[in-house]
């Protein structure tokens, strides 16, 4: 089960993290190093809340408690970027894997910006990805999207891709919910949502 975190009052700011299990072999004698990467790269975002009226904070505080047993979803902040809908974008073909995702249903000629986020829901879980390079839809509305991280699950054919309001889903790290409350204000502090898979 997952639920959506509040969107108001807005967070003061966010910190992004790209989580990998890669290690660098670094020979102590100065030889060339090598990076050994593992499967399962994914995103994490830290939400820094403002100090707010206690009444405004109540929904946040309740959800912080609820999030100790459920995953949460949160809209990916892309402030300053207008994620207009370039059509009804669907996965084009089953059994896809790797760092290219074929899609269709795009407005012909539409250009996907490098760095743009999108998400899709597969088997009840949201997976977040980012465009790793610019891509342009062809005249038939088809496009090969270069993405990071590599697909962790193969989306089914015609699955909807959410480019207009992508979300991240995961547990809030740590099993303790903590906040400060004094007089008529509360400070929810910072917490991190890390994709579970």
């Amino acid at each position: 089960m997952s639920f959506a975190l509040p969107t108001t009052p807005k967070a003061r700011h966010h910190t992004w993290e790209y989580v990998t299990k890669a290690v660098d072999t670094d020979p102590p004698l100065g030889g060339a190093s090598q990076r050994l990467s593992r499967l399962g790269d994914r995103f994490a975002i830290t939400i820094h809340l403002m100090t707010m009226d206690y009444e405004c904070a109540m929904a946040w505080l309740a959800d912080r408690v609820k999030a100790t047993v459920e995953t949460v979803t949160y809209p990916v902040p892309q402030r300053g970027f207008d994620p207009t809908s370039p059509g009804t974008i669907l996965v084009n073909g089953a059994s896809q894997a790797g760092t290219t995702l074929n899609a269709d249903g795009v407005t012909p000629g539409y250009v996907f910006r490098k760095g743009r986020f999108f998400s899709f829901t597969m088997n009840g879980r949201i997976y977040l990805h980012m465009m790793s390079a610019e891509a342009t839809a062809n005249g038939s509305g088809q496009v090969a999207l270069p993405i990071m991280p590599m697909l962790r699950v193969s989306p089914s054919d015609n699955l909807a891709l959410n480019f207009t309001a992508p979300r991240i889903e995961g547990f809030i790290e740590g099993t303790v919910a903590q906040w400060e409350a004094e007089f008529d204000w509360a400070r929810g502090g910072s917490f991190t949502i890390k994709e579970a898979e």
């Binding site: 593992r38 790797g98 590599m150």
Partner: protein, 221 residues
Amino acid sequence: MALSAGMVTALAAQEALVFVAVEIVLPGPVNIRLLDGPGSLTFSSKTFTGRDATYGVLAGVEALREEIGLEAPRLRLGVNPPSSSAVSTLMAEANQGSAISLWLGCVTRSTGAVVASPELLFTGFYDTAKTVAYQNILGVEIDVASDWERMFTAEEGARLNTSWHQSIYAGELGLDFVIDSLAEPFWGSKEPGETGTAGAVVPFGVGEIWGAPPPPPPMGA
């Protein structure tokens, strides 16, 4: 066996995307095929996933090393099952002798395809298992004996569990609740059970599989 040309090339690259795959074939047969990370990979007509809906995820694999063997090589691996029924299935006595294999492979990141052919690092059989429960860990730790041990087994098929024992000595309860009776045949010049000296096993602690040291015992314990 030599590494395939594809594996040699992949492992020589500046960045290599590697994975570990484990197959556990329990009686039934129940095929549990797990990867060490999220995703799904297919090779040798077998599909491995990062999370099995029934049996959970691979928590860890004991470090392997290759050297001249003076004792039988063994392997320990951990599984995080999502339910008590999965724990029960993984711990069943009838699992003793079940085939377990472990591969190391590489993935081509751009296509998500497995580089031919993953290296079969270990093949053995389920020896014993125990549950591991600490503050932030719930798992099943499976002790795997090498297939080579079969060469030293005078009585193939004999098991060290209470069901087998009572099938011969009905009512004899000496092996009731015994979970750690390893099959340890003599191998070369070393006594069985001395880890870290030879074979495939290196000194082993809980942290090596489960990722974190066990918490200290409760006060007053």
